[in-house]
């Protein structure tokens, strides 16, 4: 068993924060934790790693109780960058982890190359940008090739190139057998990483497979957008046009039908882009009733 969380309950004073969370993971997966700020995502991860105590329930990671510090030979937790020591270098952090986890120091170069931080690993962390700190946190989390990797907002501060690199690394780790649980506000990235999403709302967990909700949205450029709009309207096809780009959902319009109509009317398609929108769509369905003035950070 990789993760066994049973009836996990936590409350601050009388305010419930986690309301009986159950998670069972038996084989490697990538799971995304999604929910508004304050939903309890970080609290759940902190409870799972024994950084916070809980009031009821039990947590076992990689077959051991979460109070057993030896789990961290096989479990890594990417937290926010406040855990870093500004006066130390990235190398110092990685060396420390190698020492306490009995990992050969030669792994440092390997992991920094993989993350793309070799060039600045000997600089003090206080001089790092947000993205550089995130790189270091990732390197620190994966240097022990964990069986279970928990990531709390791993994409914070990353530029698009770094975000793609992180996504690729996480997918590689998954292929190597690592189970990944991540919380993120970036629903696009989640769609690219996994179909399994645990939505968190008010301390409760709603497990969903996006295979039921996953959908593609198409963005089509044509040589005559006005004509295309007219013929699509006549055919009764629902689509939108923004700045000359026609977009429609896979579940509403069959792509082949669309192509046939374009061809029949002599309209040339110059490009088609596809975007997965399952997480975002489901999120909107679940959290649409949230107050409009609330920060809907997902």
């Amino acid at each position: 068993m990789i993760v066994q969380v049973s009836n996990l309950k936590k409350h601050y004073k009388k305010q419930p924060v986690l309301k009986g969370i159950d998670i069972t993971i038996e084989s490697p997966q990538i799971i995304a934790l999604v929910g508004p700020n304050g939903a309890g995502k970080t609290t759940l991860m902190n409870c799972m790693t024994n950084l916070l105590p809980f009031n009821e329930g039990s947590v076992e990671l990689v077959g051991k109780k979460n109070t057993d510090a030896s789990i961290f030979y096989e479990v890594s937790y990417l937290q926010d960058n406040r855990i870093l020591y500004g006066d130390l270098t990235g190398y110092d952090h990685l060396k420390f982890i190698c020492h306490v986890q009995k990992i050969p120091l030669s792994h440092i170069k390997e992991v920094t190359d993989r993350v793309g931080m070799t060039g600045y690993m000997k600089k003090r962390v206080r001089n790092y940008s947000l993205g550089m700190k995130q790189h270091l946190l990732l390197a620190m989390s994966i240097i022990n090739k964990p069986k279970l990797l928990l990531l709390d907002e791993p994409l914070n501060g990353l530029d698009p190139t770094s975000a793609i690199n992180m996504r690729n690394i996480l997918l590689e780790l998954y292929e190597e057998g690592t189970t990944i649980i991540l919380s993120s506000h970036n629903l696009d990235e989640i769609d690219r990483l996994t179909n399994i999403i645990y939505f968190m709302k008010d301390g409760a967990l709603l497990k969903e497979s996006l295979q039921d909700f996953s959908s593609n949205q198409y963005f089509v450029n044509v040589d005559d957008p006005l004509k295309a709009t007219t013929v699509l309207k006549q055919a009764g096809i629902s689509c939108t046009m923004i700045e000359g780009v026609i977009s429609f959902l896979e579940i509403e319009v069959i792509l082949q039908n669309f192509l046939d109509i374009m061809k029949a009317n002599g309209i040339t398609i110059t490009s088609i882009e596809t975007k997965k929108i399952g997480a975002e769509r489901r999120y909107q369905e679940l959290f649409a009733k949230e107050k409009t003035d609330e920060t809907v950070a997902i």
Binding site: S70, Y73, R82, Y85, D92, F96, V100
Partner: protein, 413 residues
């Protein structure tokens, strides 16, 4: 694992700008203090020049006295002794110099010692003269160059409470003279280290170290999402985090103390000479007894006792750090507790349990020389008791800290 944790903690401390800045300030202070000691050191050349000046004056006086008269004989005798003394200084014939000083001591010194006439508190007490002669004998036997001047006002002891003028009263001017000339400086390596030990191994030194390591626990962000979470998500026993912090502070303090000693010795050796490891330091005993110990041993013992004072102070700091989780508050409480402890200890100094109070042992040089014991007439204030009391006190505080950490772990939210 333990060594690695220690290494990481030490690394974290020494790489901070704050640590480096305070270390640099301390180095500057040592250099400045050395310059002060160097300027205030009386050199042999100065002593010889003064003696020769006196001889010239005496020669002039002598030329005015008719030869063959009794006055001439007496004055010539004094002159010759003065000349011999000046020659001994020039030749650095220290046994001869000390013999001359011993000759100048009162003739009834031995009979007074035999009669144990130690009742007076007026400078120079019998104890002061006895120890002065014993010091000269020690220096003579070991052929050690003394720290100048070798005047009667250059040596005082804890038993000299009053400073009479012409054998009467307590004269401020006389007191100031003795204070001034008995406070001798030497810029040699060993002796300068002795100056540093006397100055630094007390409350000033404790405050410095508390400032240096004051945030060792609290900077981890206890109770918040601080760097402590990095340590707690590693395969490290929770208690070993605090233990490694404590050990790293003690280890660095030890290195710091050793470093201070090395810098002091090097400064003295480079700009003067190494000095004498076995220069005598007076240690008071019961019933006006005494002994001398090597200055090197004195410095080592003072350093070790000061190390125990630091152990005790850090134990307080760790306890308050866990309690308050705020650097300034923890540091403030530690310093206030020490100052209050010393105040209360002073009030209880005559009690039968006074020597069990750790706050009495903060001025370590006075404990090692037992000057404090002699002043308070309580010879339980000694080096061994200091080590034990500070060790036990620290142990109690550390156990309390451990229990508090267990309690906090169970109570965390």
């Amino acid at each position: 694992m333990g060594i690695r944790m220690l290494q990481f903690e030490v690394n974290k401390i020494v790489k901070t700008k704050y640590f480096r800045m305070l270390s640099f300030i301390l180095l500057l202070f040592l250099i400045a203090y050395y310059v002060y000691a160097y300027i205030n050191t009386t050199r042999l050349e100065e002593v010889v020049a003064t003696l020769e000046g006196t001889l010239e004056g005496m020669e002039t006086q002598l030329s005015k006295i008719e030869e063959g008269t009794t006055d001439f004989e007496i004055f010539n005798n004094i002159y010759e002794k003065q000349r011999d003394e000046a020659d001994a200084y020039k030749k650095e014939d220290w046994p001869a110099v000390f013999n001359r000083q011993i000759e100048l001591l009162p003739a009834d010194l031995d009979s007074n010692i035999a009669n144990r006439q130690y009742y007076t508190s007026s400078f120079p007490t019998l104890f002061t003269m006895e120890t002065r002669r014993a010091q000269y004998n020690w220096l003579s036997e070991k052929d050690i160059e003394p720290v100048f001047w070798l005047w009667d006002v250059s040596w005082k002891t804890a038993y000299d409470l009053y400073y009479p003028m012409a054998g009467v009263g307590d004269d401020d001017f006389q007191r100031q003279i003795v204070e001034k000339y008995s406070n001798q400086y030497s810029s040699t390596g060993i002796y300068f280290t002795n100056h540093v030990a006397n100055l630094f191994f007390s409350m000033g030194g404790v405050f410095f170290f508390l400032l240096l390591f004051g945030d060792i626990v609290t900077k981890e962000g206890l109770g918040t999402n601080g760097s402590i979470h990095l340590l707690r998500t590693q395969p490290i026993n929770r208690h070993s985090i605090l233990v490694s912090k404590f050990l790293s502070v003690m280890f660095l303090s030890f290195l710091f103390l050793a470093g201070i000693g090395v810098v002091a010795v090097v400064l003295g050796t480079v700009f003067d000479r190494l000095g004498d490891w076995n220069y005598p330091v007076l240690v008071y005993g019961e019933e006006y007894s005494f002994e001398f110990i090597n200055m090197g041993i004195f410095i080592l013992k003072s350093g070790l006792l000061f190390f125990m004072v630091l152990l005790f102070s850090y134990s307080l700091l760790f306890l308050f750090s866990l309690l308050t989780k705020r650097t300034i508050i923890a540091l403030g409480l530690t310093i206030i507790t020490i100052l209050l402890g010393m105040q209360l200890a002073d009030q209880a100094v005559l009690s039968s349990f006074a020597h069990f109070i750790p706050f009495h042992y903060f001025s370590t040089p006075k404990i090692v020389t037992m000057e404090m014991a002699a002043s308070l007439k309580n010879f339980n204030f000694d080096y061994a008791n200091g080590m034990i009391v500070l060790g036990v006190g620290s142990g109690i505080l550390l156990v309390a800290t451990y229990l508090l950490s267990l309690f906090q772990y169970k109570q965390r939210v």
